[in-house]
Symmetry: C2
Subunit: 402 residues, 2 copies
């Protein structure tokens, strides 16, 4: 009788025969496990496999030499087969607090997710399993029992695009219960290939906001995560065109259209939320392509933003020369002079010391230095990676609207 009840309970899960199979067969393996001594154990059950490896960004990196230069690549280690075909690997070091990506390589096939871990991340078309080791700054990336803001998927009519487009809007805890309060607004932009979900999933931005606000380290603010691919309506699953294969060649990404169209986003937000609709209460930041966008949106609208953050900004790639709206990228020196003459509260630059955009950002800083324009600068270890962008957001947000 007990057996029948538990089988019935399993079937009540509300899943198809398909998934039920996995539930019946996949149980019993714990992975990943953060051990008491700070090491982490990974397990993968597959009696038929000949070799199982693990790659993840907590492992020491390897240098990868290519014709385009030297890049860092995640390390890779072997799991050892034990009883019942359960492969296992435990780090021989404490894994520092951070949010990490990992996956298995099974008989040479890379990118195999950990089937026992439902923390999965999509980045463009690549899925990885997630490991969040709590502590230190990584505690900002976790959910805590603090007041939570509301995270909404909102569609706005884009005249530029000719169709409705989706954005993610964070309203801080208390927004609904204080119907007369007005709030400053931070716009947060993603990289090429990302979308309006990227900062919320990999960036853990809404957790960072909840936690910084609860700790009194950041002002309550509205945060808007735009989709910077103006030719798309929304993230892959939410397009009327169906599945959009990840590609390097999305049109209208770094050629001026999005920068030109940004005003319609600001107007929509000011028209639909209780914002303090003036420069003193507006900030913008972005990673990679989003840093490039943030720079040019700021320079072409010198009265719009009082705070600008460039996170590993994709400047100096030559896209300015191939632009549709070349005027957006022209006369940078003059635009910088106008912008800084208005004394913005904060111009902030962050980059990793092995980022392939490091030199371009250094050149840009030299230009600012030569002109005597004030800015704040943060240099971190590592390259063009989410770990750095989360760090930059946690540094940038507390400086806003003070």
């Amino acid at each position: 009788m007990k057996k029948i009840l538990s089988a019935a309970a399993a079937l009540l899960l509300g899943v198809g025969a398909f998934a039920q199979q996995n539930i019946f067969m996949g149980a019993g393996v714990d992975s990943p496990v953060i051990n008491e001594d700070g090491t982490v154990t990974f397990r993968y059950q597959n009696p038929k496999a000949i070799r199982v490896q693990l790659t993840g960004d907590f492992l020491p990196t390897q240098k990868m030499e290519t014709q385009f230069g030297t890049f860092e690549s995640a390390g890779i280690v072997d799991l050892k087969e034990g009883q019942n075909g359960i492969w296992e690997y435990t780090t021989d070091f404490k894994v520092a607090p951070e949010m990490y990506n990992y996956s298995f390589t099974v008989d040479g096939k890379s990118g195999v997710l950990d089937p026992n871990n439902s923390f999965v991340n999509r980045d463009v078309a690549t899925l990885t399993s997630l490991l969040l080791v709590p502590g230190d700054r990584a505690d900002l990336y976790a959910i805590h029992r603090v007041p939570h803001g509301t995270v909404s998927k909102v569609w706005y009519p884009s005249k530029t695009a000719g169709f409705d487009r989706r954005m993610t809007v964070y309203t801080p805890a208390g927004y609904e219960d204080n119907p007369k309060a007005k709030y400053p607004v931070l716009y947060v932009l993603h990289g090429i290939g990302g979308d309006e979900d990227a900062w919320v999933t990999q960036g853990r931005a809404t957790q960072i906001l909840d936690n910084l606000i609860a700790q009194g380290k950041a002002k309550p603010m509205i945060v808007v995560f735009t989709n910077g691919n103006i030719s798309q309506e929304a993230a892959p699953l939410e397009n009327s065109t169906g599945y959009v294969k990840a590609t390097m060649g999305l049109p209208q990404t770094m050629e001026g259209t999005f920068e030109t169209a940004f005003g319609e986003i600001v107007s929509f937000i000011d028209g639909h939320y209780r914002t303090i609709a003036k420069k003193q209460s507006r900030a913008i930041c972005g990673l990679s392509m989003g840093g490039f966008h943030s720079l040019y949106i700021t320079l072409n609208n010198p009265d719009m933003f009082n705070y600008t953050g460039l996170f590993s900004a994709a400047i100096g790639t030559g896209s300015e020369e191939r632009a549709t709206y070349k005027n957006i990228y022209e006369n940078v020196d003059g635009k910088l002079a106008t912008y800084f003459s208005k004394k913005p509260a904060l111009f902030w630059i962050g980059i990793g010391n092995s980022d392939f955009l490091y030199n371009a950002n250094t050149e840009f800083r030299k230009k600012l230095d030569a002109a005597g324009y004030p800015y704040q600068y943060m240099e971190t270890d590592g390259g063009h990676i989410w770990r750095n962008w989360r760090i930059y957001l946690t540094e940038f947000v507390p400086k806003l609207f003070k």
Copy 2:
């Protein structure tokens, strides 16, 4: 120069070295592809694999005999290896319009996602790749260029649970632009193991609502997707307790606590949204455990809901006898009499003809028939699966608030 630019563009994607690797190496294989003749082709690149199979709920089902009875199981077919280790399979039949789940089995290891398809679905701890074949009813599951509602993740203070809990709230297109309009509310409940995301991801509920409302087939309404696991704050990634392994044994799921606490959810929604806060403008429905919840929330609050939908309701499993709050499940005949004496607008039951809960639902209908209580009934092919629950939602929603 061209090569360097495209490599630079690839690196601009805003992803770590880790994911970049996959982008460099994984390109070039299209899968899945809906062909002009209505067949579908699946491809999987793996030169080292010995056998690659495909399983999915569009394939003819197989009967699976177990000690608990006969269940349907998804079919499985072999892919054939071609050039460059690209395995391929094309259906020998037109695939009917529907949203399907599928995955590969590589050398006996099941549950391998299609690495070229970023449409991925999480159900409890199981991930599957998605295939949406457009046409007929499946068009309701797709995004179209129609006005879209806003989908928000909202936290409410649960006195019963003792902490804040998350729900998903859909406000229809026009809600923000008509600040004096008031709307009816539909509450939609998930199955055991699901959460406040389930109906939005697998259920495609917000697409169904957008499309039915745009077609004039449903009234604009607020829709609330609750989390029926009262011991949890939210879906797996959004819990302060970190990763919660999928389990059959979540406490407080079908023992009366959630049903008892439902009033605090209704109060929160009526307090924070422009609702028509009365029975005539309230509906509730749910699948499996959510159908069970919907039944008992309705019967214990006969003045709360004018429309109730039971989708493959998990009644007759014996959980009522093991309940903490037994009173919720007692005196069903008396509660039915009271409820139906108040002449609700709609009591709706849907179930698949091979659902393991078919007999229990038939018994329940016999009870209603014997007493002469009016209800509407829909019987579909297949079992305890999302395909049926999506169908039931598309049938139920147009009947509301007329």
